[in-house]
Amino acid sequence: MEKKLKRSLALITVISILSASMIGCTRGKVADSQEPTGEKEPNTTKSDSEQTKEAGEKAEPVEIEVWNVNVGELPTEKGGTMYNYFKERIGVAPTMPAIPWNGGEAYLQRFRPAMAANDLPDMFLPHGGIEATIIENKAAVNLKDYLPKYAPNVWERIPAEIWDVIAAADPSGEGGIYYIPMIKDYVDHGAYIRQDWLDNLGLDMPKTRNQFVDVLKAFRDQDANKNGDPDDEIPTGGREGGSWMDHLFTPFGVAILAGKPGWEIYEGEITYAGVTKNMRSAIEFIRYLYQEKLMDQETFFNKKKEWDAKLYSDRVGIYYHMPEYAASRIEKMRNTNPNAEVKALPIFDVEGYDGVVSKKVLKRPEWMITADTQEKIIACLTLLNYLNDPENYVDLEYGAQGMHHVVKDGKKVMLEQDNTKMECRFRSNIISEKQIVNRMDESKTEEDAWKWDMVKNLILDTNAQPTILSAANGMPSSVYGDYADIRSHTMYKEYMTRIVIGEWSIDKFDEFVEKWHKSGGEEVTKNVRKWYAAVKK
């Protein structure tokens, strides 16, 4: 018994020591492998370096750490492909760790302690309104004087009005520029309709409210997808919380994006679109569609996966999405129905309302710089200047040779996206409709031209519709103060959902407006109007 016990104890001790030393070894190996090695430098980058030799290579690159969205791609580590890519071109060597994103939640989990420990990277994406805290604490670099000199591409390509809006968000009132925004000069969301369904039923593109309802009724009652079952079609719909169904709101002049009402000018003053009479009419209309089974009865339960499955199985007639990411969707629809064809749905006319898309050019704060030395600040801006030079745009899209593209017959051919083998391509934060369309023209082949042409038309047609520049462009998250519920649209979503599904009558909307004002809406509205007045000065 005693011997047995001794032996077991000895065994546990030996195993523990062995395992600990194994981990020690692994750790050593990990550290070693982070160093640039001859093996890690792919042959392919040699050709990149040859290309850039003439441009002048700096002997001592400036290393910077950068954090941004990572959707499962490999990190850029010291000596890695994208590290070398930029090192050879501009003498700036960025590293970017792979921080899980999880809708931004995991990113913030990592970010907050790093911020408290004063251990932030040199340049990063300030997610979830965290920029307000950083600006308040003066923890970021004021880029006002740096930008014109070190990042002229960023400074000049972003309109002066946008810089004014950003400067107005400086709480000290000194007009400092503490972040660089992501700018899209085009509308990147829109409604899409199955043209092949319209053709099958001999219908025209709907242009008025009545025509729209007629099309939905035809989709509901007839075999629009020609699969022999007249009952499997879902005329239109969206996802939980009323997201991804903006096409049912915009005809009523409701400023909304992905289901979240925005701030726009109503009756001469900037107002939350969720409490306007436009919203009331829109909800009333959607309630009618729901009751008539003209929209998916599971709309408020649909998660992305469920809604996508309905689209891909050739069952949805009209849906709302982002046109620039439509290629894979159309392809998946064609797996089910080879005739699937998608077109942009125009905003239909509703009497008494001006249907219009409220365009938000300033999408979000994209970069903040907290680097502590002059050299690193300049290096960050040099990188951004390079990323936003239209001359480099195509080159950046193709990424690194061997990792993101290969050269065939002297022409660059993109490799199929594979996150397990690819590092994140650093991209421009100023994106224009022209750039997107050019990218499609540039990368299409004879076999897939149909797909890219269809997507291109979606983008062009979506942008041919009436739009106004959103009054809330660059509105700082600080306007919400402590009213997190107002910011997350909680009350709006509850009332809208219950009214649409018929649980409450439309009169409940008036109760919502009153409650919304009382529970912080009034205070937030005051803050927003104050901010807007300051911007307009």
């Binding site: 395992s19 990990v30 990572n70 760790p97 999880n102 989990q109 408290a116 992305k304 499955a309 620039e324």
Partner: protein, 289 residues
Amino acid sequence: MSSKTQDRLIDIIIYMFLAILAFIMLVPLLNVVSTSLSHGTAVDRGEIYIFPIEPTLASWSYIFKENRMWRSLFITISTTFIGVVNSLFLTSLTAYPLAKKEFKIGKVMMVTIVFTMIFRAPMIPYFLTLRSLGLYDSIFVLILPHAISAYNLIIMRTFFKQLPDELEEAAKIEGCGYFQMLFRIVIPNSKAVLATLGLFYAVAQWNQFLHPILFIKSSKMFPLQLLLRQMVDGTEEIDMVDIVMTTMVYNEQTVKAAAVIFAMLPIMMVYPFIQRYFVKGAMLGSVKG
């Protein structure tokens, strides 16, 4: 109806009810397994329920060829194994004196321990403390902070308290000290609680997510759960990135399902081996606190 037939009838009803319950619990798991074994197009259309459609091993072959998965699996298995051995050793060393009446400061220590269960350290000071201890981006951050769980410690202390005093008294007369008594008498008689707590520790170690996300910077040290989250991100954030995998029979969703099963299977396989101790240990520990 005789009482024997009645008993049998009741048994049948109970078994049927439990079988249905077990099936309901199995459905989500079966769905994920089937998704990992199905053709991507069928998954896109939402056609998978319990059985795979157009079965293929493509997603699994993709996962098996993925070096990152194997590396993360090795890290998770090593940290779990070392973590469990370390935790059981330290927990028994702490629980034993606390179970002794003659240990005068035992009560004060218990209050302190329970205090940590109610009031958790705020995130930022916790982060700063661990970083100052040199645990940032170190593999040991996956082991050391979880060395002793207050809850498990209380279970073990309760278990030790229930052991008959006579066992130790005999050893005492023979001249055994406290350490000898712990390692020669108490621990060999505590297999049930060690197996139970070992499982608790193992599952907690295996599933840990917060520590890796806060402290592990180098992706080469990512444990399985963190890597899995990253892979899932690649499929869920598809609104942001146009990932086109057209020529393959697998897609983002089938690969994700295979990765989920891959990360779950090893820890699931531990259960049957310690089940017989598990029930006994869990019951014993819960008699009194």
